[in-house]
Symmetry: C2
Subunit: 347 residues, 2 copies
């Protein structure tokens, strides 16, 4: 199954519950768009492209739930639901992008409320289907950057689980592997939610790609001792100047790669490029609950003191000067990004 | 009690078992130097100065254990025991430093085996006592670098638990706090053994110094958003050129501080300065068991897949170009370190 999908037999929306992986594989089923918003906040689903697709299907649920008898009333309900869904997480731009796209695409629908409801689901499905195709295009462009024998550091999870299917940065690695290139992946465990150790390791096992998990703070050791040829990561939002907001730790990783002349690539569908934002510091950075940092046990022991407090920013901004290239479905953008990203978005 | 100490009532060596903190406070008691070596390997005790003192007392145990009837036979037993203890961990230079110092100090002892045994314990005790005084001198020099209102990132644990008592980098922060300066500490949790989240947080709670735990990969966010004024860390071995080998992650932290013009200080007793090594890449870096990375549960779930593998370097090298100053008991060394460190070691 896909990470997020509409089930046309039950007419319900379903997602893999990523909080339980790799320990158990469970499907969460939704009939209420408000619970989809909560699931995005709680990280049942995460990864910018997957969040965008989930929000789209959430809006399709909102359409089903609406009791509006005419098109204007239904549109008002959809706009309220879209605003609610947009609040679920602040950093990834795909959330707003997908919702705005559906509202825009269905703005001219003539006919009755039933037809509008169908059009909303159709557009959400189109976003999901396109995501898979976009990822395959990204993967083909990105795989050209990988050479046989490369050891690659990968941050967070950007695989099938972060998208509708296939993946972005991990999709590039997967494509290069399928082309017969021998690759070894050093998997940043990616504290605090450990998407690398949990999800990326699980995906790489399934694809039979050799890997080792490393702590995030060990990346510098492997980079500075000449053991790494490339660094790949995703982006939850990319500004017009090429600044990249991605999972916390990406900035320090890119900096260490830069310090050792190891190329580092952001891998992004153009839907995550926000040309309305001129630079990274304008991107809102989500700070999540401190329990994600403090709720850890090691070898059976509670880690932090009972009265400890913590700060937990979920993303950071990697300045464009540290990014060698940005891989999109329309090709690889290189500096100066102000021009090259515009070309990528235009297609 | 001290972190490591000889108990003159029982004539045994005892240490706080740091693996169990902060959940429980237990004292481990030793009568066999081989078990002290194993305890150093297993990180019952850690931190370069504490390891040095523990090894010294371990050698005193070896003297007690020896059945040698004359001084030459006892010396041979001591040298064998010192060689065994030196193998316990490779990176911290204090281990070899303390053992060589005791062998050297007792080389000229006249008299019988009993007197030599007493001299070994006396020198081990002297190393431990001096460590506390050295830390206080370090703290006074270092505290001058801290201003009222500073937010400081601290890596790993360099407090009373990493030394015989008081601490090095954390001792500097503690001294500045005692001087009435208002300080907030961002505590790197320091994967994989989480000495920051476990030990530094526990110590800061006891000293009533305000802090927040952060994941190691979040340091760059706080540095790049202007929320940090200083970075302090220890060193397990410092080369003649000022390159610093310290707990894994120090390099990426120093790099991120450097990228944001935030001063970063290594805080080291001169016993950790190895003038025989010209630069950092010559320092042996310990790689520890992968279970330290993989043996993690988050919110009750096993993190990594069952068949996952991991790499686990315990230290990295921070090049001297990233180190603003090196605080010692004899003052603060600044670049060029080749000259200034020589002066510090000479006293």
């Amino acid at each position: 199954m896909r990470t997020v999908e509409w089930n046309y037999e039950t007419d319900k929306f379903q997602m893999i519950d990523q909080r339980l992986l790799p320990g158990s594989f469970e499907i969460a089923v939704y009939e209420d768009y408000r619970l989809v918003a909560q699931a995005i906040t709680d990280m049942v689903v995460r990864g910018a492209p997957a969040i965008g697709a989930a929000a789209g299907f959430g809006l399709a649920l909102a359409a089903r739930q609406s009791n509006a008898q005419d098109v204007p009333a239904l549109r008002a309900d959809l706009e309220a639901a879209a605003n609610h869904l947009k609040q679920a997480r602040p950093t990834a731009v795909n959330l707003a992008w997908a919702l705005d796209r559906i509202l825009r695409a269905t703005a001219q629908i003539q006919g009755n409320a039933h037809q509008l409801k169908g059009a909303v689901l159709a557009e959400a499905q189109k976003i999901a289907d396109e995501d898979v195709q976009i990822n395959l295009s990204i993967a083909r462009h990105g795989a050209e950057l990988i050479e046989d024998g490369d050891t690659i550091i990968h941050h967070c999870n950007t695989g099938a689980l972060a998208t509708v299917d296939w993946g972005t940065a991990l999709g590039v690695i997967r494509m290069a592997h399928n082309q017969g290139k021998r690759i070894h992946v050093l998997v940043d465990e990616t504290r605090p939610r450990l998407q690398g150790a949990r999800l990326t390791a699980w995906e790489l096992s399934q694809y039979h790609i050799p890997y080792d998990i490393i702590t995030d703070n060990a990346a510098g050791y492997f980079l500075s001792t000449g053991q790494v040829q490339k660094v790949f990561f995703g982006s939850d939002r990319t500004a017009a100047n090429g600044d990249v907001a991605n999972k916390i730790g990406t900035y320090m990783l890119a900096l260490a790669a830069h310090d050792n002349q190891v190329p580092r690539y952001a891998v992004v569908p153009t839907s995550t490029i926000d040309l309305a934002l001129s630079s990274g510091p304008e991107i809102p950075i989500e700070e999540r609950d401190s329990s994600e940092v403090l709720g850890l046990t090691l070898l059976g022991h509670q880690v932090a003191p009972q009265d400890a407090s913590a700060r937990n920013p979920a993303f950071d901004v990697t300045p464009h000067r540290l990014v060698t290239g940005i891989v999109t479905e329309n090709g690889v953008a290189y500096p100066p990004y102000k021009e090259s990203l515009k070309r990528m978005v235009a297609g």
